[in-house]
Structures are given as structure tokens and as C-alpha cells.
């Protein structure tokens, strides 16, 4: 009974299940997307046609800033007002083994068995074909499965992670006291992508300083933002600020809903996502490095018949020859 007799179910047969909210189908398709299996591409294309309904919230910040604890608190608060949500939690892989210990802080308390919540952990180790790619496929799948909100948690330190939160409708950047020079530690450019700032662990006495530093930084911003960027102090211990954060998320959502802003943001995100996938396709195509066409081009470059740019153009011209 532990072995499926009939072999793998074709991905396209899982699509209807996902659209009907079947967790098993949803979970399987996320795995296949993460594995980068070509077989599931047509299914994901079907799924994509059913996306765009969920509000997508990205949560990022330095390691240990309290993101998972915050996601859990937000998830509980959203459930309390009857909203369903999906969570994609990306955790770092071990640089030595590629393995990972995942998502241990979100699935706690009442959330554990609640059918209105779907929590999926993902290791940052290169999902084959790119982390951003796999995480955003998972977001699509949860969106199509009908969850009202999809939260994505990533550490804001690598470019892939930053690309993921940039794909959100609303981006929350979490800072916390006591992590050393915390404001500096995060990848340059991450603080600037925040629609909402959170200072977590506000129960700690040194939280005030982090709060003041952030306010100061926002005042000194080079380009005045299109909208006032709120800073919310939260404590997952006392529950302080969680309702205020949800209110800010909603307020940002209404802001987006006016003047076509949501459509503009999603258009920008769509372009970034398509370009990113194209880059991956190109990289994968050349990664092998042993195609005869490629070898001929490199030979010509080594013989000084082609300059590096000319060689690159020649390589690009070979792209259409075989489907990737």
C-alpha cells in the first residue's frame, strides 16, 4: 500500500484538483514545479490563466529578524477574520550538503491543522531552474487554488530572494533590534523596496533605536516615495502591532486598487519574471558548453576572428536552433 501501482499522475490531470482546492494536487504540482520538470509546464500554463485573484505579500529581512514568527502571527490574525492564506517559506540550504531544515516556526499552534492555511517550505538551494522561478510557481498555484492572500517569506540577502519579494503586490521589510548593525546587514536596495517597514521584537528595550533609525533613513530617502511608507512596531510575544500591520497591508492594497496602480505593478512584475526565466533558459542552454555550434564560435574567438561581443551575438543567434 505504500507504493503507487499506477505510476505518476500526469500533471495536467492535477490542474482541476488544484482549481477545486485539492491540497494533495496542489502539493504535488508545487513539487514538480520545484523540480523543474518539463512535464509540468503545460499544467502550470493552465494554472497561470487562473491567477491574479490573491493578494501577494512578500516578507523579507535579515536572518533571525523574526519573519517566520511574524508570518505566523499575521496568518493567525487573518484567519481570525476569515481570510484563507497560502504561505511560501524559503529557508536557506546548507552550503555543504545542499540539505535544509525548513519552516519550523510558522506551523505552530492553531495554524497546524487549519484547512484555511496552506504552508509550503522551500530550500533556497537552487530549486533546479532557479529559486525565484519555483517560488513564484508555488505562489501561482496557491493563488489559483483560491487562497485569498499568499505570503512569501525569504531572507533578504541574496539576489534570488530579493527578486522573489519584488514579485509581491505588497512588500514588507522586517528589521529587528539586537542583530548588530542591522540596518546595514541587509542587501543594499532591500530597505528601499519596502511598502511597509516592520520593527519586530518591539518588546525588547532596544527596539526604539531600530525604529528611530528606520524613520531617519526614510526621511533621508533620495526620491520621495509615491506613498508614505509606514513603520510598524510588532511583537509576536505580546501581539502588539499585528493588527496595525494587517491594517497597513490592507491600506496598501486599497492604494494599489486606485488609479490602476495594481495593474502597473503587476505589469512590471510580469516583465521582470519573464526576463528572469529567459535569462535562466539562456544560461542553461550555454551551461553545457559542449554544443558543436558553441565550440565553433569559441574557436573563432580564440583564433581572434571574433571579438567577445561578436561571439556573444553569434551565440545568441544559435538560440532559436533547438528548443531549450
Amino acid at each position: 500500500m505504500t507504493v503507487q501501482a499506477s505510476g505518476p499522475v500526469p500533471s495536467r490531470r492535477l490542474v482541476d484538483g488544484v482549481l477545486a482546492g485539492d491540497r494533495r494536487a496542489l502539493a504535488r504540482l508545487i513539487s514538480r514545479a520545484e523540480a523543474g520538470e518539463e512535464e509540468c509546464r503545460p499544467a502550470l500554463a493552465d494554472i497561470h490563466r487562473h491567477t491574479g485573484r490573491a493578494h501577494i505579500v512578500g516578507v523579507t529581512g535579515v536572518p533571525g529578524s523574526g519573519k517566520s514568527t511574524l508570518v505566523r502571527a499575521c496568518a493567525s490574525a487573518m484567519r481570525a477574520v476569515g481570510r484563507t492564506l497560502g504561505v511560501v517559506a524559503v529557508d536557506p540550504s546548507s552550503p555543504f550538503s545542499g540539505g535544509a531544515i525548513l519552516g519550523d516556526r510558522i506551523r505552530m499552534g492553531a495554524l497546524a491543522g487549519d484547512p484555511g492555511v496552506f504552508i509550503r517550505s522551500m530550500a533556497s538551494r537552487g530549486a533546479l531552474g532557479g529559486l525565484a522561478h519555483a517560488a513564484l510557481d508555488a505562489v501561482d498555484l496557491m493563488d489559483a487554488a483560491g487562497f485569498d492572500t499568499v505570503l512569501i517569506e525569504t531572507v533578504g540577502v541574496g539576489q534570488d530572494e530579493v527578486d522573489i519579494v519584488r514579485a509581491a503586490d505588497t512588500t514588507v521589510v522586517v528589521s529587528a533590534p539586537g542583530l548588530g548593525d542591522d540596518i546595514q546587514a541587509i542587501k543594499a536596495g532591500v530597505l528601499e523596496i519596502a511598502d511597509i517597514h516592520v520593527v519586530s521584537k518591539s518588546d525588547r528595550p532596544d527596539a526604539n533605536r531600530t525604529f528611530a533609525e528606520l524613520k531617519q533613513m526614510l526621511l533621508l530617502a533620495q526620491v520621495p516615495p509615491e506613498r508614505h511608507i509606514p513603520v510598524v512596531a510588532t511583537s509576536a510575544e505580546s501581539g502588539e502591532g499585528i493588527d496595525a500591520l494587517l491594517a497597513e497591508i490592507d491600506s496598501h492594497s486599497s492604494f494599489l486598487a486606485s488609479d490602476g496602480r495594481l495593474a502597473r505593478r503587476r505589469r512590471r512584475n510580469a516583465a521582470a519574471r519573464a526576463v528572469k526565466i529567459a535569462e535562466e533558459m539562456v544560461r542553461r542552454r550555454y551551461a553545457a558548453g559542449d554544443s558543436t555550434a558553441m565550440a565553433a564560435i569559441v574557436d573563432r574567438m580564440c583564433a581572434r576572428e571574433l571579438d567577445p561581443h561578436g561571439a556573444a551575438r553569434a551565440l545568441l543567434a544559435t538560440l532559436d536552433e533547438v528548443a531549450p
Binding site: I101, D104, G113
Partner: protein
């Protein structure tokens, strides 16, 4: 395409006993063997654990029990997996139990029992073997 996706394992403590040092060590060994490990913490119910195993789409669900409740908890987990249409998730048990219980649990469909003092290497090897035997899904 490139290499195989990592084996996914969910490790849970079900029931009342409050020791998780052992399972945390196992979790780290599996990670160091390149697996993705979801550890759900203490005091989970069979419902919580099966829900998490389904959503996370794990290959293996490992449940460790020291409380002596294995003859009620494992059958319950097997039933819940079946109910969820997830009987292809392989159930592995850890902890302590008498031999005759182990035999009975295997007959019920527990894929493997790695009882107390199984060395980490043997746990890694057993999980790899189970996943290889199952094949693609």
C-alpha cells in the same frame, strides 16, 4: 535535467513526551545528507502531522514516539494518510517498542521502524532505500 530533487522528510513528535533532542539530531543528520527536513516541533496531533506532510508533499513522514502510544497513533496516522489520498507518503517510526508491536505495525503499512539507537547513517540509508524503491511519483 540536472540532478534529482532533494528527498523531503517531515519529522514529528506526536503525543505527550517532551524530549526532542533525539529528533533534532536526526533532522540535522538528514540535512547533512542533502535532504530537506521539515521539523514540526513537539506535541503534535496525528491530524496536524498528516496535514503538514500532505501540504509539504514529503516523501517520508517520520514519527518518533517515546510515550508508548504507538499502537494507537500509527494506525491513526495510516488511516489519515489514506483519507487524504496520500498513502504513497511512506511512514517511518522511531522510538521504543516491543518486537511484536513492530511486527504488527509493519503489517499495517508502516514502511520502516528505526528504533532507538539506530545510528544516523542507517537512518539516512533506510530513507534513501525507501525512496529509491518507491520510484518516481
Amino acid at each position: 535535467m540536472a540532478d534529482q530533487p532533494a528527498i523531503r522528510v517531515l519529522i514529528a513528535k506526536v503525543g505527550l513526551d517532551g524530549h526532542d533532542r533525539g529528533v533534532k539530531i536526526v533532522a540535522r543528520c538528514l540535512r547533512d545528507a542533502g535532504m530537506d527536513v521539515i521539523y514540526t516541533g513537539l506535541h503534535k496531533t496525528p491530524e496536524d502531522v498528516v496535514r503538514a506532510a500532505v501540504d509539504e508533499d514529503v516523501d517520508v513522514l517520520g514519527i518518533s514516539l517515546l510515550s508508548g502510544a504507538h499502537m494507537t497513533i500509527f494506525p491513526r496516522v495510516i488511516a489519515l494518510l489514506e483519507e487524504a489520498g496520500a498513502s504513497d507518503i511512506m511512514l517511518v517510526g522511531g522510538g521504543v517498542m516491543p518486537d511484536e508491536d513492530a511486527t504488527a505495525l509493519r503489517a499495517m503499512g508502516v514502511a520502516e521502524l528505526l528504533l532507538q539507537d539506530t545510528p544516523p547513517d542507517a537512518i539516512v540509508a533506510a530513507i534513501r532505500r525507501l525512496v529509491a524503491e518507491r520510484g518516481p511519483r
